[in-house]
């Protein structure tokens, strides 16, 4: 199935969970946050949250910035 992760199209197996996605991307679940279709996903349910065709996923972390880093 096709989903969009941080603006990039990715092909993932059906019933892929958030935790499996993070493992595949080699992203440690520590100190990051995940949002699916604008809803923040609690880290305690990464293993139980399955992705669906067409989902928009955002994975964020922290970078250097003070004011208006963008």
């Amino acid at each position: 199935m096709q989903i969009t992760i941080n603006g990039e199209q990715q092909d993932l197996p059906e019933k892929c969970t958030v935790l499996q996605l993070l493992e595949q991307l080699k992203v440690s679940p520590e100190r990051i946050a995940v949002e699916i279709n604008l809803t923040v996903i609690d880290r305690s349910v990464y293993h139980a949250t399955t992705l669906n065709e067409g989902d928009h996923v955002e994975i964020i972390s922290f970078i250097g910035g003070g004011a208006h880093a963008g």
């Binding site: 994975i59 964020i60 970078i63 250097g64 003070g66």
Partner: protein, 259 residues
């Protein structure tokens, strides 16, 4: 002699009255050294997408351990209340802090805040239990409204972000201090150590800065200068300065002069 008490924001006690940004440094190692030299125990960080294509990218928090430093995520770069609220929720979900340095920028050229949107976002996030630190103008009425909306502190700008112009309106900062009872952190506009000292001498509870340190020729040295300036300014505020007078007042006694 007045004894100082630590800065407390939303029940969190701070060792230093200086909060530093982590942007614009040449490397994470330089960031770490500058933060250390500044004496700050709280750093602000921006929220951005993880680079999913290059996983060898280093992580800032490997250099600034959240066990050692209080992490203050910011909503830098957000132009609407919705964007700022979304960013704040994501930041909290990362599990390092309930604090948020709330920025809603109104204009790209001045980077002045959009206070209407800021107030809206403050109210929503405070209700959700965030410790909200809003970046705002040096406007006493706005400061009061932000406190009423649930802001834990008010962070008026001294001058535009990154301008280095110093405290442009000390009188407004003084009025804000008389208007509200939560801590006041000057955020943005400091250029050099004397600017930081002036803000602290006015009685501000703290200062947040980034560019003044990271943009200096020698950031680690400037970080140390800011550390001293904030401490000196705070001590001078507590010690109580002499009044300003137009004419001289001799400091040596006249009695016993040779004739």
């Amino acid at each position: 002699m007045p004894v100082d008490t630590p800065l407390v924001i939303g029940g969190i006690s701070f060792r230093s009255r200086l909060i530093v940004g982590t942007g614009k440094y040449a490397s994470f190692e330089e960031t770490r050294k500058a933060v250390e030299a500044s004496g700050a125990d709280c750093v602000t960080v921006a929220v951005r997408r993880v680079n999913i294509l290059d996983r060898n990218e280093e992580n800032l928090l490997d250099y600034l351990d959240p066990k050692t430093y209080k992490i203050l995520p910011n909503t830098a770069g957000c132009y609407t209340a919705e964007e700022a609220i979304r960013t704040a929720r994501l930041a909290r979900s990362a599990g390092v802090s309930d604090m948020v340095k709330l920025e809603v920028i109104g204009d790209q050229r001045t980077l002045f805040p959009d206070n209407e949107a800021l107030l809206e976002a403050t109210e929503v996030l405070a209700k959700e239990g965030f410790i909200v630190l809003p970046y705002t103008n040096d406007d006493p009425i706005m400061a009061r409204k932000l406190v009423d909306a649930g802001a834990a502190v008010v962070m008026p700008l001294a001058a535009p972000i990154g301008s280095g112009l110093g405290i442009r309106n000390p009188y407004n900062i003084q009025i804000i201090m008389e208007t509200i009872s939560v801590p006041i952190i000057v955020d943005a506009g400091v250029g050099t150590a004397s600017d930081a000292a002036i803000a602290m001498e006015l009685g501000c509870d703290g200062i947040l800065m980034n560019t003044a340190i990271a943009g200096a020729d020698h950031p680690i040295q400037m970080a140390e200068a800011m550390n001293h300036a904030v401490t000196a300014g705070r001590l001078a505020y507590l010690a109580g300065r002499i009044p300003k007078k137009l004419y001289a007042q001799a400091s040596s006694p006249i009695e016993g002069m040779i004739e």
